[in-house]
Symmetry: C2
Subunit: 343 residues, 2 copies
């Protein structure tokens, strides 16, 4: 039986007190430890294979050294999200550098109410990052009233919570504007998700504004709501095609959804971009590899992760963060899925 090795064991072996062990291993500069003593302690720790117990440390120090990534989306929608790994990769990278752990959770839309509190108090996290927030999430107000460090990936209008996001609205506007510049006037839209998701409604707003600025009348019949995955993109694109409405381009507010749309268009015998131009959103890794390569808006996934982390750290340190809402730039990546109607 592998008996647990405690700091007391290290102390005994090194011939010092447990306090000294603690000071040495935590590099407590405030207390002067003679270098040779410190070395003795370190040697003993290594010899015994000592790893401080995280639970005990968390209890004593009131810091878990873990942060939580909370996804307010059901698992089946998590499973098909090709963007999630980018966030995870970025987050895992920077967290490891700083010796922090990442606790992943999902909360079902409907019982976020208590979830958030339980997550911080009950689970072992010092702060949390909220992915894909919903406008209709009642738990967000609760969170505002606590002093739990929270960063929202996505912008919530009117919320006092700190956030990191791209400017979805103007990015969408840019995307649609690109189509308009190419001469398209009849432009459909498939959202990335249901409208309570802030990113979905903001991208739809960008679509509307681009139309408006170009003097094109907004036609709600040309709009469909998808649901994160390619399957919903396929379904909604078919719905658009079956409506027999005339359009020469479609703005799909998610690459993943756009791939489903691709499939529906291909099945209908329509060519991209000859018959229909498509602009996506996210620039998922596969966007440049599909045929035709997808014109899209690039999301700085890694940067979003890094900025979220940094903002969260400031909050956890009780610094006054400089910005309440960090907004990151996006780029229009023009590839082969859009075509000019002019000339």
């Amino acid at each position: 039986m592998n008996k647990r090795i405690t700091s007391q064991d290290v102390a005994n072996l090194a011939g010092v007190s447990r306090t000294t062990v603690s000071f040495v291993l935590n590099n407590e500069e405030r207390f002067a430890i003679r270098p040779e003593t410190a070395e003795k302690v370190r040697a003993a720790a290594k010899q015994l294979g000592y790893y401080p117990n995280a639970s005990a440390r968390a209890l004593a120090s009131n810091q878990t050294k873990n942060i939580g990534l909370i996804i307010s989306r059901a698992p089946q929608y998590i499973a098909t999200d090709p963007f999630l790994p980018q966030i995870l990769g970025g987050l895992l990278d920077i967290l490891k550098e700083n010796s922090l752990g990442l606790l992943l959770e999902w909360v079902e839309p409907g019982q976020q109410l208590e979830s958030y509190l339980e997550l911080t108090r009950a689970h072992h996290i010092d702060g949390m990052i909220l992915m894909t927030p919903r406008l209709d999430d009642p738990g967000l107000k609760t969170l505002e009233e606590t002093d739990i460090p929270v960063v929202v990936m996505g912008y919530i209008p009117g919320s006092t919570l700190h956030s990191v996001d791209v400017d979805n609205l103007s990015a969408a506007e840019t995307a649609v504007c690109h189509l308009i510049e190419l001469g398209h006037t009849k432009i459909a839209c498939i959202t990335n998700a249901a409208l309570p998701y802030t990113s979905a409604s903001q991208r739809l707003d960008g679509y509307k504004i681009a139309l408006q600025k170009a003097g094109i009348t907004y036609n709600p019949q040309l709009v469909r709501e998808a649901d994160f995955d390619a399957q919903s993109g396929y379904t909604q694109m078919r719905s658009l095609l079956e409506s027999n409405l005339d359009f020469s381009a479609v703005f799909v507010a998610s690459d993943n959804v756009a791939l489903g749309a691709y499939s529906a268009l291909s099945e209908a015998g329509l060519s991209i971009p000859d018959d229909i131009s498509v602009v996506g959103f996210d620039d998922i890794p596969l966007a440049s590899f599909i045929q035709p390569a997808l014109t899209t808006i690039s999301m700085p996934g890694h940067e979003i992760a890094v900025q979220s982390y940094q903002l969260l750290m400031q909050l956890m340190r009780r610094d006054f963060p400089l910005e309440r809402a960090v907004s990151l730039p996006t780029d229009l990546i023009v590839r082969q899925s859009t075509r000019s109607l002019i000339g």
Copy 2:
């Protein structure tokens, strides 16, 4: 300042002792608590918004109620993995049902040695699931010698660790066999990853065996090693094309990599499946939506997650698991990327 609410507060409000509170909230059947007392306690807890502190509970009970998912791969390769979300979705789902948390970690290939031990002892996990293990991982032997509950997603020959995996070898064999049945004899192969990754070498072996059984001589020059992402698939497919070797089909041991291959083939003016047939592996969600829809091997991602969880739970309960290595079935999904040369 939100003072922390402890079980003592609940006890005071309910007019009972802290012990009673603990018994009630943990549904301790062994001690008979009068129903009205239990109700008083529960009411007090609700009124105060009490959430037991996980660190303290972990320390006292020696159980963290968290499990770790360990990915032995660098973050940049995590970021482009479209299969990871399937595992995560499945795992998150079942873990939530059982009130467990999921701690995500990556270890860099090269310093797994101590990582694993530190992860369990230092971090807050009761057991761990290892993703994408490498044959050359020295830390695995260390793990075998401990009594830490570990489940490996992927099969490690000769290891005593418990594992859940598909039969990569025969699945790959099936895939290549499909090509052979269609009349292909000159079949190239692009692996999903470098060969130290067990899944990569096993799939390559399946490829070899299928050839052998069909009496086709194995030609190493027709084999390339990719590196998880589509970019590497593109690169390796170009390398194959530039070799000027003759082949009519290619087995790409990862859909993600296959998409890169698609791109290279398209760029070279070759048609799938008219000029080249392609079979992938994984059946990522997008496989059925790309053009042409990819013939591939379906991985039961959700089932892998569920089985891993169940096996891990048995180990954590110190049950004797019935099977040491769970092997899950795969299916060949024939779509449009393969074509018969016969007739």
